[in-house]
């Protein structure tokens, strides 16, 4: 399974999302690769992805992708990530 973490520039927000999503996936024992991407490359990167993780502000600009879009408010709240990811994946 492939998950894309998207932010405007692809180095800050998306990288933090990737790091914490990987932690949560491990907890949930779900096998998946998580890639960080910026807004410019997100569409290309997401074509075979199941889930796109991003921030509430960017959801609108990512609409129309095949993948399910999950928006995360608090990046260091692993519980929020766990709840949202398990709802989408389990």
């Amino acid at each position: 399974m492939k998950i894309i973490a998207v932010c405007g520039m692809g180095i800050g927000t998306s990288v933090l999302l990737k790091i914490n999503a990987e932690k949560v996936l491990k907890m949930l024992r779900i096998e998946a690769t998580v890639e960080a991407a910026d807004m410019a490359t997100a569409r290309g990167a997401a074509f075979d992805a199941q889930i796109v993780l991003t921030t509430p502000e960017l959801v609108e600009s990512l609409k129309g992708l095949n993948a399910e879009i999950i928006s995360i408010d608090h990046f260091f709240d692993l519980e929020e990530l766990r709840t949202k990811l398990s709802k989408a994946l389990l």
Partner: protein, 147 residues
């Protein structure tokens, strides 16, 4: 890989009473990267542009912003800066306002700062350490806290 504090160059941490605007806060975090030799002055403009273009999504958790541009020739080496505000400021973020910790990030590429970011995530996930960061009045103490 060394300590998270190593990503913060000399003079890259500043504690300030208040700033006037969100842009001013981002500019200061950017100038701290410039002063500590991590980025050229032109990088600061790209940090501001990111927020103008994509909105205040850089407010990644309650009270915490991570201001950054993207990897380019404006970046000299990967590094972080930190502006601690005694008086919180609005970033117009729907959930996570107001902001008191403004981190600046410069990265030379999309990969090489992964470990630094993992360590930063660890510190910022720790509510006790975040509280101490907020009440600290000494940048050397902050450096120690960052580990």
């Amino acid at each position: 890989m060394g300590l998270l504090a190593d990503a913060f160059g000399e003079g890259s941490i500043l504690i300030k009473e208040s700033v006037g605007t969100r842009s001013a806060a981002i500019e200061i975090a950017g100038e701290l990267l410039v002063q500590s030799g991590k980025a050229k002055h032109s990088y600061v403009a790209s940090m501001l542009e990111a927020v103008e273009r994509f909105g205040p999504y850089i407010v990644i958790a309650p009270g915490i912003a991570l201001a950054h541009g993207k990897p380019s020739e404006d970046v000299i080496e990967t590094g972080l800066s930190l502006l601690v505000l005694k008086q919180a400021i609005e970033f117009q973020h729907a959930q996570n306002d107001p902001v008191q910790l403004v981190f600046g990030l410069a990265a030379i590429d999309h990969e090489s700062h992964m470990e630094t970011m993992a360590k930063l995530a660890e510190v910022l996930s720790d509510q006790d350490r975040v509280s101490t960061l907020l009440t600290s009045s000494d940048s050397d103490q902050i450096r120690v806290l960052l580990g």
